[in-house]
Symmetry: C2
Subunit: 160 residues, 2 copies
């Protein structure tokens, strides 16, 4: 969904509804990391999505993404599993939510970013694309409607 700003003069406007740093930690340490950010900085967990793929030799379920609120901002913590694509250079990526994923990627690529793989569609994460900017940072472009589980629900499920 593109909105026109600046009196209608700007073309190809992609509107982002959310910007979120995503911090990867070596699996299965994301649970500990979430606890650390709560204790150290008073972050509040607002939701958690578990990774539905669990290998036979894997003792703990992995965190796909746990959203933590800190002040007015939100960042997320994720387990970096062995079979996940390696995050080049940095353990941190930035996620942007928009209804116009293809438009966003196309605009970023025109500006000098490199598309990383194809846009994928996933039951949990929805449609997701990825670009690497000229400075080495990875931006994950996803649909705002990605399904996430409120933290309270996760706790209820895990205590059953």
């Amino acid at each position: 969904m593109a909105e026109v700003q600046n009196g209608g003069e700007e073309k190809n406007v992609v509107v982002f509804s959310a910007f979120k740093p995503q911090l990867f930690v070596q699996a299965p340490k994301a649970t500990d990391a979430v606890q650390f950010y709560k204790t150290a900085f008073g972050a509040e967990e607002v939701n958690r999505t578990m990774n539905p793929k669990r290998k036979a030799d894997q003792e703990l379920p992995l965190i796909l993404s746990a959203d933590l609120k800190l002040g007015d901002s939100v960042f997320s913590v994720s387990d970096l599993s062995d079979d996940a694509e390696k995050i080049d250079g940095s353990g941190c990526v930035f996620t942007l939510a928009t209804d116009d994923i293809d438009g966003a990627i196309s605009k970023a690529v025109s500006a000098g970013a490199v598309a990383e793989g194809e846009v994928t569609e996933d039951e949990v994460a929805g449609r997701v694309g990825k670009v690497k900017d000229p400075y080495g940072y990875v931006w994950v472009i996803s649909s705002p409607a990605a399904k996430t589980t409120p933290a309270a629900e996760v706790e209820a499920q895990t205590t059953v």
Copy 2:
């Protein structure tokens, strides 16, 4: 300034007024990076602080920090100069603003972070401390009153 939350039961509460990812890029590319994030993602520059230290052989002034607004969030872009402390592991750090820098560092260290150096006092940045969390991420704790120059002022100065 510590505020008491949760009906006064919680002790040692440190309140953060801002959370901001800070993306370092190899100097002097921060100017290009700011332009890239504007073009690629429609980010809006809200202020820019130049690095007051300029070496004789350095052609361009370096950006200490340029704040970019994307949706409701702000991130900053900085030139990583040769004499700056190296950012271990990741080119991205997270800044937290609070009036209680010592309390924040002490609480983070109690939770398992490692203090990086002493708290410094700087004309431009104000009081600044740094901790590395158990997962390798660096958090810069600074006072909210750090002096920054609005972008418009920077432009006016550079066009004179």
